[in-house]
Amino acid sequence: MKAAEFDYVKAKSLDEICLFLSQQAGEARIIAGGQTLVPLMAMRMARPNTLIDINDVEELKGIEITKKSVIIKACTRQSEVLESVDVRRSLPILSDALSHVGHTQTRNRGTVGGSLVNADPSAEISLIARLLDAEMTVHSVRGERVIKAANFFSSAMITNLDADECLTQVCFPIWSSVRTGFGFHETSIRASDYALASAAAQLSLDSSGQCRSISIVIGGATEIPTRISETEEQLMGSDLSDTEIKTAMEKIPEMLEPQADVHADADYRRRVACVLVGRALKDARERAKGSLV
């Protein structure tokens, strides 16, 4: 299980990354943590001509937190974000989700940007990006553009990045309302396995306890993280009672066309995704009310 031959360059700056990418015309891959790419290369399911190592590019590392957002540079290690007290305070759902990404050793190496561009249907970081409609900033020799999470993921393991583009940062917006709560649930076979299905919800209540804003997203059971807007719309303005949640969720199963694999069939993923949405919504509701920490 040895990779096919490739060339290797170590980039020292973002400009250099962009230059390498533009010169290689789709034959090069960026390597950051390598936690997914290296096994794929070992099995020769990926065989780039060139690897561009971005681990020394300092401008791609770090976390910036403002009142409105948490910005994470693409090459920041997952463990650094998970261990950040500030992130946990500002955006606890991200910390929660990150604790489900692989395990200590893969998080020590794996990066936030790497997980996003890998676009695994069951990836937790992608799920949260979609939930909050995070903004991805990408660079190339042609310039910079910002892609909303809604437009970032194309299909399983594929993003809408062009071959010469490099993701440089992701900006997760923070909801300003005081009465905001989140919920995140996933089901995997073993503790550190990929999620068979996952769901996240975030919502805000007004002073009378009615839902003023809401976002719900499903992962694992769909090709890309998928917002459940119909359910969101139905729940807007409601009290989020169990009954209301149940009614609002009725259409979810038919919206999902999950993949089957050796671990779970489509029916399993569909049913479990619904269960997890329900759990995420209830947690979010309780947190918004302040009755769940």
Partner: protein, 800 residues
């Protein structure tokens, strides 16, 4: 019997000798060896479930810089003898590389040899094999049908073995019994896959005419099988048994791999190494275990007493019959479990399909059989409304009834099953577990308690060999030890096999230390090379505590006898006037007159004038002994004594199940365990916990899943799910010690413990959890998706 130990070293806490090298990174595993000029092998695998190999073009591959050779199956077939089969199947040829026809996806068809493994893999991609796809069969029940595609067309059918034995008045017992029930239980293809793959390096030395082999192997008669395949004298094959083996649990047989590298080193005159990568290991190697359908029928009376048992075991052997089909044979040794069942019928079928071949897995077929038997016992309890503990109590053999002969001919040596169960129930606190279970149920989850009571036949009297193959008249399953006392009084002991984590060095040291009354920490234990090794049947069949421990004690007793003889000569007294104490010898009643260990050793090595006339100089002894109860061929009705010793284990787990996702969590786990006298308590604990972890894997996670096109879907650690520290609970272990009357110290085997009862216990717990819903599962593994589908297959949206 649980009196205080009279032993000096046996059963005492003692650090395991081997561990020092492992904690400092100084183990010597097969892949750690580096020989000058060593070449590396990568395999070319067939992508098809079944295909004719029309031609192989190696031109592009051989042209790659750094490639030395490409060996095809056809070339190898011409130059070696086919490998041995455990069954009498002259039409089924097993070769290291497929020749003419590839019979499973992943089967190796060519081997590329290069300067590095990287280059070998590059070139393997360039070996052009022209295949014609052929019909294949994956389902063993379809494979048995007359019109099924044939895995081995020369044979004419896909049945490797099909035989039924009837022991006792089965028909009579069934007709007399007021009740009977039948069920089907399924044990899916899984195994105990070690973290180290199989690795082997071979180096042919033309000057010495010697083939040196370093391999991560656990295989009886391995050197001889290599020699036979290569048509070499066995004295020209030197297997270095001092290689540390990174786990095996029965699997690492490595004959095919070793024949390939051995042929190549002889051809290329360079050392050749093959380390399986994980895909070669799981798809191409022999990493698969039993894959079995059990059709069970039991006759029982109004009290729930079982009178007769009928078992039909249909095993999907995969492609080739090595020793794997014999895994249907070992369960004959305990075919009625620990129960007083008067008669039994056993129909054993080994079926060939286009899957990777099976190899031996921990317990050699006993764990699946125990699972099937326990499923039956639980079902009777349910049908009769009797507790699962009570039904067992009524049927278990009682302690005063040993030795107990079962219908298939084996005599169980000893046991005290009821006491073990008593102690377990007290420690596990069954009533409290029930309360805890019911609390979990009230919280909206499913919860269940499991129970299993199972046997571990140990000692490796492998008389299933002649039972399953009338042309095989093997009745010898020996083990040996050579002890040498050097001139300075140091003790060295030699075993003729490799170890894969069983702690044999510690076993030797403690057994010898016990007899010679010398500190085991001062006793050196080494692994011989095969050319110098005394006969061994290798560490299989949970036998080494019994057999190697017995051989070591036997040799030590000979040393002790020599010392006494020397002392008697020097004191001019009869031996019965002398007292042996800690290696020194005293005159009884006069401790002033004594010879120390050092003095006695000095006499033996240097003072021939003080030696009894006609004595061999030096101080050394060897002992080779036959397995207790071995040495007999099966009777015409198939009855035979198989295995000498029977360890007992009872398991009680508590599980909870998320009814919406099917996820199972093991909340508590207790085991009551009796393997007779324990040589080293830490080793027995470790074996048992590890066995339970294997069992949990088999029960809940692990399966070599194939798809309809015959492709292995679980060929990496991404898809074949080995439980981690999160899935395996802490286990409470309750010990009991019923010595075996057949062994030196009263010990029985424990190398397979835990694994033999855990799958049954987990299944029992899951089914207890499902019972309130009127549902059950009899198929392992009970995966999240299986459980969830059973619960919610027809349910509308839940909101959790």
């Amino acid at each position: 019997m649980n009196k205080k130990s009279a032993f000096r070293y046996i059963s005492k806490k003692r650090r395991v000798k081997e561990n020092r090298r492992f904690i400092t990174g100084r183990g010597r595993f097969a892949a750690d060896l580096k020989l000058s000029g060593m070449l590396h092998v990568a395999m070319v695998s067939s992508p098809f479930a079944c295909a004719k190999i029309k031609s192989i073009n190696v031109d592009q591959a051989i042209a790659v810089d750094g490639v030395h050779y490409v060996l095809t199956g056809a070339e190898l077939a011409e130059n070696i003898s086919p490998l041995l089969s455990g069954l009498d199947l002259p039409d089924v040829k097993r070769l290291p590389l497929a020749s003419g026809r590839a019979r499973y996806a992943g089967e190796w068809v060519a081997a590329v040899v290069a300067d590095t493994r990287h280059i070998a893999e590059d070139a393997a991609e360039l070996v052009m094999v022209d295949y014609d796809m052929l019909d294949f069969v994956i389902d063993p029940e379809i494979a048995m049908k007359p019109d099924a595609p044939l895995v081995h067309p020369e044979k004419g059918d896909n049945i490797f073995f099909d035989k039924q034995w009837v022991w006792g008045d089965v028909d009579g017992d069934f007709s007399k019994a007021p009740h009977s029930l039948s069920l089907r239980a399924r044990w899916s293809r899984c195994s105990t896959i070690p973290i180290e793959t199989f690795a082997v390096t071979a180096s042919w030395d033309d000057g010495r005419e010697m083939l040196d082999i370093w391999a991560s192997v656990q295989m009886p008669k391995y050197p001889e099988q290599i020699a036979r395949a290569l048509k070499l004298p066995a004295s020209s094959v030197n297997v270095h048994f001092d290689v540390d083996v990174g786990g095996s649990y029965g699997l690492k047989r490595g004959i095919r791999q070793t024949v390939i590298v051995s042929y190549l080193t002889r051809k290329l005159r360079r050392p050749v190494r093959f380390i399986e990568d994980r895909i070669e290991n799981m798809a191409g190697g022999e990493m698969h275990g039993p894959d079995r359908i059990f059709d069970m029928e039991v006759a029982y009376d109004d009290d729930g007493i079982m009178h007769s048992l009928k078992i039909t075991a249909t095993d999907d052997c995969g492609c080739y019959p090595g020793r794997a089909p014999l895994q249907l044979g070992k369960p004959v040794s305990a075919i009625v479990g620990p129960y007083r069942i008067k008669s039994a019928q056993y129909h054993a079928r080994s079926v060939s399909t286009n899957k990777t071949s099976q190899e031996a897995v921990r317990g050699f077929g006993q764990a699946p059989t125990n699972f099937a038997i326990e499923t039956v016992v639980d079902r009777i309890a349910k049908e009769m409304g009797i507790g699962r503990e009570e039904i067992r109590r009524r049927n278990l053999i009682k302690s005063h009834e040993f030795p107990w002969r079962i219908p298939s001919g084996s005599e169980y040596d000893s046991g005290d099953y009821h006491t073990v169960l008593d102690k377990l129930m007290e420690s596990a606190n069954w009533d409290q577990l029930v309360t805890k279970r019911d609390v979990i149920r009230k919280q909206g989850k499913l919860a269940g308690i499991g129970l299993s009571t199972c046997l571990e036949p140990s000692g490796g009297n492998s008389s299933f060999e002649p039972l399953f193959n009338p042309k095989n008249n093997t009745t010898t399953w020996m083990e040996s030890c050579l002890i040498k006392i050097d001139m300075l009084g140091g003790v060295s002991a030699m075993m003729g096999t490799s170890s894969s984590g069983q702690g044999h060095e510690t076993l030797l040291a403690v057994s010898i230390g016990e007899v010679l009354e010398r500190d085991p920490d001062t006793i050196r234990a080494i692994h011989a090379d095969s050319v110098t090794a005394l006969p061994s049947n290798s560490p299989v069949g949970s036998r080494m505590a019994i057999m190697l421990g017995g051989a070591a004690a036997g040799a030590a007793k000979k040393i002790k006898a020599q010392l006494l003889k020397i002392a008697a000569h020097n004191f001019q007294l009869p031996e019965d006037r002398l007292i042996y104490d800690g290696g020194d010898i005293f005159v009884d009643g006069d401790r002033e007159r004594h010879l120390t260990w050092e003095q006695l050793v000095d006499i033996a090595h240097r003072q021939y004038h003080n030696m009894p006339i006609g004595t061999e100089p030096g101080l050394q002894a060897q002992h080779t002994w036959e397995v207790p109860t071995g040495g007999a061929m099966p009777a015409d009705d198939g009855t035979v004594q198989m295995y000498p010793c029977y360890a007992f284990e009872a398991h009680v787990p508590l599980v909870s199940i998320d009814p919406d996702t099917g996820q199972v969590e093991i909340c508590d786990y207790y085991i009551g365990h009796d393997c007779g006298t324990v040589i080293n308590p830490d080793i027995v604990r470790g074996m048992t916990f590890g066995g339970i972890a294997h069992g949990i894997g088999a029960a809940l996670y692990e399966k070599f899943q194939y798809d309809d096109s015959g492709q292995l879907q679980a060929g990496t650690f991404m898809d074949y799910l080995i439980p981690s520290s999160h899935e395996i609970p802490s286990v409470g272990m309750i010990k009991h010690f019923t010595p075996s009357p057949l062994t030196e110290f009263g010990q029985k085997g424990s190398g397979e413990s835990g694994y033999l009862g855990a799958p049954a216990a987990i299944a029992s717990a899951v089914n207890d959890a499902l019972e309130p819903l009127g549902k059950s599962i009899e198929t392992l593994p009970m995966r999240v998706r299986d459980i969830e589908a059973l619960l919610n297959g027809n349910v509308e949206t839940k909101i959790g």
